[in-house]
Symmetry: C2
Subunit: 76 residues, 2 copies
């Protein structure tokens, strides 16, 4: 079973990596970019029967820093 | 207009970051994890009317290293 975890910075948290990407896109001549935020995508290959609660525990205990990050779980 | 870019390592490319997460999950007692791959999620806030071709050009020129990475574009 596959699960994908999307980890994104909460609104209001500074994102220097996103800012750098934004700046680089402008330098390459791409106009019309208002904002860039960078997050993480973690793909887990799990044993069948892994519960949603387990996946959520992985996120809160390790994968995301819930003080500054949100996470979203997508089972595939 | 928002677009999300998912950048993932191609199959066969070593992913030490994913291996580290895998190891850490096992250390925390989470069994049943077969594999972990880490990728990037880039959220773009674009001017309305930005074409798909522009977004794809951003990916190939800057956001993804197409030698070792795949990317997927999702418009929202």
């Amino acid at each position: 079973m596959k699960a994908r975890i999307f980890v994104t910075l909460k609104n209001g948290v500074l994102d220097p990596q996103g800012k750098a990407i934004h700046h680089a896109l402008e330098g390459l001549g791409f106009g019309g970019v208002n904002d860039v935020r960078q997050g993480k995508l973690i793909e887990l290959d799990l044993a069948d029967g892994t519960s949603d609660a387990d996946i959520e525990a992985m996120c809160t205990k390790l994968l995301a820093n819930t003080v500054i990050e949100n996470f979203r779980i997508e089972r595939a």
